[in-house]
């Protein structure tokens, strides 16, 4: 399965059904500190485990970094 994540095409051999599966597969641990857009729509953290990702979805995953 190929997904467009943060502007890169990533290939997954494992089964990815939900957004939570995807984030865990990407080794993103602090799910309460990330925000995700799928096709420019923000997915609330409480919906990560029920949001199904689809082929060709354009996904943005952002989090905090140091800044002024």
């Amino acid at each position: 399965m190929n997904l467009n994540i943060n502007g890169q095409i990533k290939e997954f051999s494992e089964e990815i059904i939900t957004l939570e599966d995807l984030l865990l597969n990407l080794n993103i641990k602090k799910l309460d500190r990330v925000a995700v857009e799928i096709n420019r729509k923000i997915i609330e953290q409480s919906s990560f485990n029920e949001t199904v990702v689809h082929l060709d979805d354009c996904i943005e995953i952002v989090s905090f970094v140091g800044g002024g």
Binding site: I5, N6, G7, Q8, K10, L26, N27, I28, K29, K30, D32, R33, V34, A35, V36, E37, I42, I43, E44, Q45, E60, I61, V62, S63, F64, V65, G66, G67, G68
Partner: protein, 254 residues
Amino acid sequence: MKPLVIAGRQFKSRLFVGTGKYSSPESLAASLDESGTEVVTVALRRVDLSGSDPTLDAIDFDKYLVVPNTSGAKDAEEAVRLARLARAASGLDWLKLEVTPDPVYLLPDPYETLKAAETLVKEGFTVLPYIHADPVLCKRLEDVGCAAVMPLAAPIGSARGIRTEEFLNIIIDQSNVPVVVDAGLGMPSHAAKAIEIGADAVLVNTAIAAAKDSVLMAKAFKLAVEAAEAALMSGPVEENTQASASSPLTGFLE
């Protein structure tokens, strides 16, 4: 001095600290602790898919009010998008709004900032806009419901000190919301000066983060801000062009 209250929340420390540019997560954590700050800013970026940014682990979200910024936004539309993402990630409505299309001086775009502020206030954000020291713009931002204004002292990271004093004076005189002097403060004396002229708080990042010993500089800024605050509360003497003797005016051995 009035207590510092922004959007109904009271703060003891008038020193806000940015979290960029530290040499290590350990240095960041120790500097924040030493500064005595209660408010820290962070930026929002794409997650690095090859590994997580350790900066985040150094910031205690329970200890500090973490205020995301919209750095990187070039117009109002991008700022609003970033703000919504920041809220989704932090669960908090607080936002440092910055729209800086110019990459050389990083000066904020007043028109786009005002447009974004209007939208974000309506969406329930507590908006703290980073802007030029423009008294008219500050009033406009206050009118649309910003919780504070953050005029610059000098360009971001320039360490040039307070170059906008005349206009900061007017902003401080007119403002009904707290004034947080942001950007360009390089030395503790600059922060003290900002508080002495009546700013409610200051935001410092580069001066602490890029110092060789960030923890020591964090302490220096903390002391400077506290010194200025204490001085204001002490009832300082008025300036005078003539001398006023400190010793008795009677002649020697009279």
